[in-house]
Structure formats: C-alpha cells, structure tokens
Subunit: 244 residues, 2 copies
Amino acid sequence: MNEKIKLTITYDGTQFHGWQVQKGKKTVQSTLQDAVEQVAGKRNSITGCSRTDAKVHANEFVCHTDFLNIPCEKIPMAINAHLPEAVAVKNAEIVPEDFHARYSCLGKEYIYKIFNSHYRDPFLVNRAMFYPKPLDEKAMNDALCAVEGKKDFRSFMAQGSKIEDTVREIKYCDISRCGDMLTLRVAADGFLYNMVRIIVGTAIMASEKNLTYDDVSRIIASCDRKNAGPTAPPSGLYLNKVFY
Amino acid sequence: MNEKIKLTITYDGTQFHGWQVQKGKKTVQSTLQDAVEQVAGKRNSITGCSRTDAKVHANEFVCHTDFLNIPCEKIPMAINAHLPEAVAVKNAEIVPEDFHARYSCLGKEYIYKIFNSHYRDPFLVNRAMFYPKPLDEKAMNDALCAVEGKKDFRSFMAQGSKIEDTVREIKYCDISRCGDMLTLRVAADGFLYNMVRIIVGTAIMASEKNLTYDDVSRIIASCDRKNAGPTAPPSGLYLNKVFY
C-alpha cells in the first residue's frame, strides 16, 4: 500500500538556517530527517509545505514523508524523542499517495508580532520585532485593506527574486493589538519571497508617514519594490496555519 | 539630598546564575551593576528585593541604588542601552532614603507555569515546566487551599536551609488553566528556600495521588520536607509582583 505520512510540526526558528537543507548548516529539514531516520531505520526524504527563512518560526508547518510502520498516534512521541527541544511533531496522519505538502496546499496564514513598547521585553527576544515608537494600529489597518484581494504583488517581493508570476490572492490581512503586542495576520494562496515582512514594513511606514488606503494601492500598482516599506526582521514571523 | 532610586526590572533568568553576585558567574545583579556603572560613571551598589535561583525568571523584580543625576523618565532607556537583551529596566522612581528593596517589601507574588500537553512546545523551552501526563487542576486547587494562611512551612523548605523561623503567611495560592497551560499563582509575606517549587511539586503530587485538603494539611503539620512533593524545576518560576 503506497501511503504517505503527513506530519504537522512546530519550531522555534532562532537557531536554524530556515527549513530547507543547506550544506554545512543546521536546518529544520535536516534535523527532522535525522530524527525520522532514527525511527524508520532508513533515510526518508521529507518534503515541506514551503521554505522558511533563517530565524523564522512555525506554529504549524506541514511536511510529508514515507509511510512509517508504527501506529500514527505513536509517531509524534517517537520522533520527538530524537529531536532537539526547538522542534516538535504535533500530529501525524496517514494521507493518500497523491498528497503533497507543497502542491496540495491551498493557502497559508502567517502572523507577525511587533512588541510596541518603550522598553524591551526579555521574553520576546528573537520572538517579536521590538518597536519602541508608538504605532497606530487603526491607521495601519485602514492602509492594509489595500493589499486584500487578487493583485500583482511585485512591489512586495524581495529584489533579485526570479519569480515571473507575481500575482497572489490575499484572503485577509489585519492587525490587532493586545496591550503592547501588535499581531499582523495575513492569509494568501501563496506568498512571494519576503512578502509578509515587506507588508509589515509597509504597515509600519503607514503609521509613521500617515499612508492611506490609496497610498498603499499606488505602491501596489507601481510594481516597484522601492516604493514599499523596509523588510521587517525575520524573528517576528511565524507560519501559523497551512490549508489543504 | 539623600535620595535613592527604585528600579523595577524584568529578566529572563535562563542564562543567569540567579540574582546575587557570585564570583566568576554571570548574575543579574552584577550585570545590572555593570550597566549602571556605565550610566553613573562610578560603581554603585544595587540591593535587590530577594535572591532568585539560577534559571528563575522575573516579570517584576525591584532593587534600589544610589541617586542617579539624570531625570527619572530617562533612566530606563539609559541603563537598557548597556544591558544585554535578557534584562530590561521597566521603571525608575525616586524614593526616600529609608526605602529598602528587601526590608521595605511587604510581600511577593510568584507564578509557576506548567505546560500540560502531550507534545513539547518549542517556544516554552526554559519558560515552563513540561508535564505530558494530564493534570487535574480542580483537584490541585482543592488540595492547595490547605497552604493558605499563616503556618509553619518547614515541610516546604529545602533541606539544609538554616532559617529558624519558618512561619510564613500565604495570602492566596491557586492554579488556573488556559488551554494546555497551567499557571500557579502564590503570594506571601515571605518565602522559604525553594518553597514555591516544592508547593508546585506537591500540587502535581496532589493530582497524581489524589491528595485532598486534609492530606496537604497533614504534610504541613508534619514539618518534614520528606512528606511534601518533589522540587519542581526552576525554569517555570517567575517572580511576578513585589508589594511595598
């Protein structure tokens, strides 16, 4: 029977050079492959739902691998026993052979955390962007509405990226405040390179420079990366949900 | 004018050998003294509200030092510029000469976090105790009621401690659950060595062994450390409030 295992994992990305295997660097993919090898007794390839950059976190990240000959409910504990504390398998389930962590994915939700306080919080080091000047989340939300919908997001793609088709559909994008913590939540059918971090930089610019909905619409229409805000640091970014 | 400065700080205790200066070890007190020296231009002594153990955290820790000749509202930023990310000054205020961070303290509140889930959470490493077996917070609360009030807490003091007067008054002690996170909250006029961590170990024992209010009352009355539960690990413990 040709079945696959779908693994849902979570990781603190601080110590990793992202998801994808890179020679000589500690990545989540190679760390997980090492652990699965201990359980399976052979080197299984593991395919992730997306790449994540160095220092980016995942509350939920999905990958698939070959069928493991142990009951599904025992897989998380079995693999976790061989993983460092920064990575954990939350769930394992059998999926049909045609399931693919990346190609079957319908969309993803990211969150980005901004700690907006005049003092640093030691517990948020590497977990949120620290931004000491007051931010106006109302203004940010008004401006961010402009990114919702199916649009060409070339202005929100890292320069040098070779992707040709830069049209994506953002399902929702909003910012909420809980005390000093701002959380941006954005879901789309797909994301360009650095897209969320550039959206965050643009949202902060919207608060700082009083950008409106129309201003952000013009930034999008310009298809010019230079018009959008700076790329926010990776450590505030979390892959939060993966939709199938 | 003989005035003092009261500093309210917060720290992630993971990398520190507790508050108190120890030769050759990185402690919060020595780290803070180094930073204050940079601001004051001389070595000021800093007196804390209590000792904390290695790996124990503080959401709020109070200390006093000599008057610094800069406006109070600028002190946190000035000192924070010289502190590592794991420590931050939240507030500074001028207090009368007779204020003493330790002797003027009327009581303290600690919290202890237990992550009660079958999988580890990478974001709670060194921040909460991981306890995979289900805990019954109702049973724990019922049993914990027995520690409230003015009592001899010798059973809840680390063996080898030389304190003679082991009577303390616990104002409140309860556990609440939010999803998989249990938070024990306890306030007292003072705490014996390892007292909170032994209370946590006893609370877990109460869930595991169905201890009742009466059982815990007997543990207290025995004045014998061996009857209480094990000492929970330091990394779940946070000094949360200091009362003056």
